[in-house]
């Protein structure tokens, strides 16, 4: 675990976006736009001094746990897991192929994936299992969860939210990748989720409502979450789906659409300029 400079983190943003894009394009498998909205969240966790882990040791007992609850974008974490040497970088080139260990949705067979995900809002319950086990064993292990806003429609999320609060699981930090898009349109037009922060507050959580592409805001909220006060923490990170690729940003159809050749060229041009200033 180390705390890096803002410039370092911003460079990581650009690196991760490029890696994700090339991984997906190579095999036409994945959810580019969803992975691009969560980029700064993951960079903050791994390179911003938030999560405790050891390079090369994905099974280190005392590591903090992380589940990409929005399993469709779990592939967005693979370049980081390779970078911290949980597996060989060559695996990124083999993503989505029969020879590789990496696939669209993260599962337990992949080093660094603490839980299989893909079915929305099961991971909050799993995180509660992590949280209450660590609490009762007096183990100082935090569990982080990256949630989509779409998962907020699942009732099981609120079951777990109620449970975590009642049991004072302040070792849980959930980060909502609030990109406001679901497959058929904007969340607020399909079925209103707002006022989302108020909903979490009413369930007894510490709530931070921030810009999910701003490292200062992300790290500030995450560090507040690390200070235990008897309540679990949720960070509503307001993001832009498809962030960094001009024609994808906040456009509904890009949830699982693959770009054509012209669009690939355009995306590569876009990604040459770091969208995180």
């Amino acid at each position: 675990m180390s705390t890096n400079s803002l410039d370092f983190l911003k460079n990581k943003s650009q690196w991760l976006r490029k890696e994700i894009f090339e991984m997906v394009i190579r095999v036409n498998q994945g959810h580019i736009a969803s992975a691009l909205s969560q980029t700064e969240i993951l960079i903050s966790l791994f390179y911003g001094g938030i999560m405790r882990y050891k390079n090369k040791q994905p099974n280190w007992d005392s590591r903090d746990r992380l589940i990409i609850s929005k399993g469709h974008s779990a592939m967005g974490i693979y370049p980081i897991l390779a970078d911290i040497e949980y597996f060989d970088k060559i695996e990124l080139k083999k993503y989505g192929t029969p020879e590789g260990i990496l696939r669209i949705y993260g599962d337990k067979s992949i080093p660094g994936i603490d839980s299989t995900s893909g079915s929305l809002s099961q991971a909050p319950g799993i995180a509660c299992g992590f949280g209450i086990a660590c609490k009762r064993d007096n183990k100082d292990i935090n569990s982080f969860l990256v949630l989509s806003d779409g998962e907020h429609y699942e009732g099981s999320l609120w079951e777990s939210a109620m449970f975590a609060s009642h049991n004072k699981l302040d070792n849980l930090i959930f980060i909502v990748d609030r990109n406001k898009q679901i497959i058929l349109g904007k969340s607020e037009e399909c079925l209103r989720l707002e006022p989302l922060a108020d909903k979490w507050k009413s369930f007894g959580w510490n709530v931070h409502n921030i810009d999910g592409h701003n490292y200062s805001e992300l790290l500030n909220a995450m560090n507040k979450g690390l200070k235990k006060n008897g309540h679990p923490t949720v960070i509503i990170a307001n993001t832009i789906k498809g962030k960094g690729i001009s024609y994808m940003e906040d456009v509904t159809r890009w949830h699982n659409t693959m770009p054509n050749n012209d669009q690939i060229i355009q995306a590569r041009k876009d990604l040459e300029i770091n969208c995180i200033k």
């Binding site: 299992g129 086990a133 099981s156």
Partner: protein, 315 residues
């Protein structure tokens, strides 16, 4: 009020299966802080004892089976031994996708304990009956399904459960069931079944749970000659079981389930895969929902499991 066939046993101070089970778990849990018991608000006197004495190992999940099962997977991922306890219909169907993705797909050794299988909650109606739980749960590749039929089996099951970590569905009867076994050595969970009555090699009756007691009584008292087997482990069924079935001319299965996908169906499939040709007669509940009163025996008799009539016709 209609009396059930086994009602008389309640006057003999026999224990409910849930209490035998939970007391057994308690004996292990008091010496192992990694054993956790969680429930979405299902009670038992034995559980009152457990949660009073071991509050750190008891978790009230809230009345939310989906959360409970996912949380249980989180606990086992942190190396806890976990028992989830709820009414049978709710611990199977309500949280089915959590069982699939969070437990089975990650092969987590969660023990799902369903109470009141079959029509155990008569006359509550279809919301509280589980007439399909074998069909729905047997499809998971790594599951073990166990139905204890008496106190001794339940006690031995607890021991087996803590000796071997597996993803399990344990089906407990709601009623007090009398003893089947006199010696524990007959109950072998690796074998999975036990011969309760040795009859001729013509007709073998395979059943478990509440119906096992009814069949035992009828064979002993009225229709001698049948061999009776307690199939306490429904899945997986091993090769030795099918080798054993080869000895018989006719196989009869009785289950407090709809027949689609039940254990009669499992046996048929097993016979077919092994190219064993036998006459098989399956008896189960009529495939419909029952909104009627009269008690468990009345409902069984009315909807396909009139055991007296079945044996009369089989003899």
């Amino acid at each position: 009020m209609q009396k059930n066939y086994l009602d008389f046993d309640r006057s003999k101070n026999n224990q409910y299966m849930r209490d035998v089970f939970i007391d057994g778990v308690y004996e292990y849990a008091k010496n192992n802080p990694d054993i956790y018991f969680t429930t979405p608000d299902m009670g038992a006197p034995s559980l009152d004892n457990f949660r009073k004495k071991l509050p750190n190992q008891f978790i009230h999940s809230g009345i939310c089976e989906q959360h409970m099962v996912a949380m249980a997977a989180g606990l086992t991922l942190m190396n806890k031994k976990v028992i989830c306890y709820a009414m049978a219909p709710f611990i199977t169907s309500r949280c089915y996708e959590q069982i699939k993705c969070s437990v089975s797909a990650m092969n987590q050794p969660v023990n799902l304990v369903g109470i009141g299988v079959g029509l155990g909650y008569a006359d509550a109606g279809p919301t509280h009956y589980t007439t399909e739980d074998i069909a729905t749960m047997r499809v998971f590749p790594n599951i073990e399904i166990i139905t204890p039929s008496d106190e001794m089996t339940t006690k031995k099951l607890v021991k087996y459960m803590f000796n071997e970590d597996k993803f399990r569905f344990i089906r407990l009867d709601r009623d007090v069931l009398p003893a089947i076994y006199e010696v524990e050595s007959l109950i072998d969970f690796n074998k999975g079944y036990a011969e309760i009555i040795k009859g001729s090699n013509k007709k073998i009756v395979i059943t478990s749970g509440y119906l096992l007691h009814k069949c035992k009584s009828i064979i002993n008292n009225k229709y001698n000659g049948f061999t009776l087997v307690d199939l306490f482990k429904i899945k997986p069924l091993n090769d030795s079981f099918f080798e054993y079935l080869k000895e018989f001319d006719e196989i009869i299965t009785l289950e407090e389930q709809w027949l689609d996908g039940g254990f009669g169906s499992l046996i048929l499939e097993g016979l077919c895969e092994r190219e064993i040709n036998k006459k098989v007669l399956r008896f189960g509940l009529d495939q419909k929902f029952y909104f009627e009163n009269g008690g468990r025996d009345y409902l069984l008799s009315s909807f396909g499991l009139d055991v007296e009539k079945i044996f009369h016709n089989l003899k």
